[in-house]
């Protein structure tokens, strides 16, 4: 009984980053490993996730570590959204415009969620330039709120990936290189999550 009364509440962790960095792939991987479920669909078309999705009480545990998280998978943050970009993926103009409108609302929702978190996993695509305004803004907001943050350098399975470029760009933060797609280095990520957010 006392264990239940004094049980530490779960840390609410937001998964943030630019579109197509692999946020939902990471959320799915974490949830599959510890709950056997997924949280959302993934796609090569940007802004596939256009609403915030939550999964509560996810127990992450391994050899010598354990932490309980509420996972918040957020839409990709962007400063520009052009429906023509979606038409290049074969969407009709009507569908592309609808996707763009929903994507803008998703970005707004993701930003509002920053006020309700205990920490952030900032997911970056290791094949892309890390010095984007979205990354700088998320990092700045977490630093301003004095909230813990981990940078996840995703897509290390790709030949052009360079997690060192991300480490060089943000040397004041912990960077964990992973591939959410094939599960590479996930044990290290879980251990780091437990120590940082536990």
């Amino acid at each position: 009984m006392w264990g239940r009364v004094f049980r530490k509440k779960a840390s609410r962790i937001g998964i943030y980053g630019p579109p197509n960095a692999g946020k939902t792939t990471l959320a799915n991987k974490i949830l599959m490993d510890f709950t056997g479920e997924t949280i959302g669909a993934v796609s090569s078309i940007p802004h596939e996730t256009r609403r915030v999705r939550r999964r509560e009480d996810v127990h992450i545990k391994g050899d010598g570590y354990s932490v309980t998280l509420d996972i918040v998978d957020t839409p990709g943050l962007a400063t520009k959204i052009d429906f023509h970009d979606f038409m290049a993926f074969g969407l009709s103009e009507e569908d592309a415009k609808r996707r763009a409108k929903e994507a803008t609302e998703g970005v707004i929702e993701a930003i509002k969620w920053m006020d309700n978190l205990d920490g952030v996993l900032l997911v970056m695509d290791s094949t892309e330039d890390p010095y984007t305004q979205v990354n700088v803004t998320v990092i700045g907001n977490m630093e301003a709120r004095r909230l813990p943050m981990l940078i996840v350098a995703n897509k290390t399975d790709l030949p052009e990936a360079s997690s060192d470029r991300i480490k060089g760009a943000f040397p004041q933060h912990t960077v964990v290189p992973i591939s959410a797609l094939n599960g590479k280095n996930m044990d290290l990520l879980y251990e780091t999550i437990a120590s940082r957010f536990g």
Partner: protein, 122 residues
């Protein structure tokens, strides 16, 4: 005079001083930036926005995209210097650095590194 440079279209650049920015509210800054950028102008802020203001600027940019024929902004600044030093605390240094903002269809970043930004205005 011969020149290889094409001056076919003028582009207005508005530079906002740190003292003017300091006297403005967050909403006034965002309104000023988005008014300029939606009219095709480039805005250079001597001292950029703080992180919460940047997030609000992105939020209001999304509202503009949703409600008008606007594709968004390109915004570039250097990473903040947030190293906790006595000097920064004494100066109340926010770490904000010069920031360039323009319409996404006119301002394109070519290359960005820690201390170097290369962009083209079209």
């Amino acid at each position: 005079m011969d020149s290889d440079i094409n001056f076919a279209q003028n582009i207005q650049i508005n530079m906002i001083s740190a003292s003017k920015l300091q006297a403005m509210s967050t909403m006034d800054k965002i309104r000023l930036i988005l008014d300029d950028v939606t009219n095709g102008r480039i805005v250079i802020l001597e001292r950029g926005l703080d992180p919460r203001e940047e997030a609000q600027l992105i939020e209001h940019t999304m509202l503009k995209i949703r409600d008008t024929a606007f594709y968004g902004i390109e915004i570039q600044s250097y990473d903040r210097d947030n190293r906790p030093s006595p000097w920064n605390i004494l100066r109340k240094n926010s770490g904000n650095r010069v920031t360039v903002i323009g319409p996404a269809n006119r301002l394109k970043t070519l290359k960005k590194e820690k201390d170097f930004i290369s962009a083209v205005i079209s």
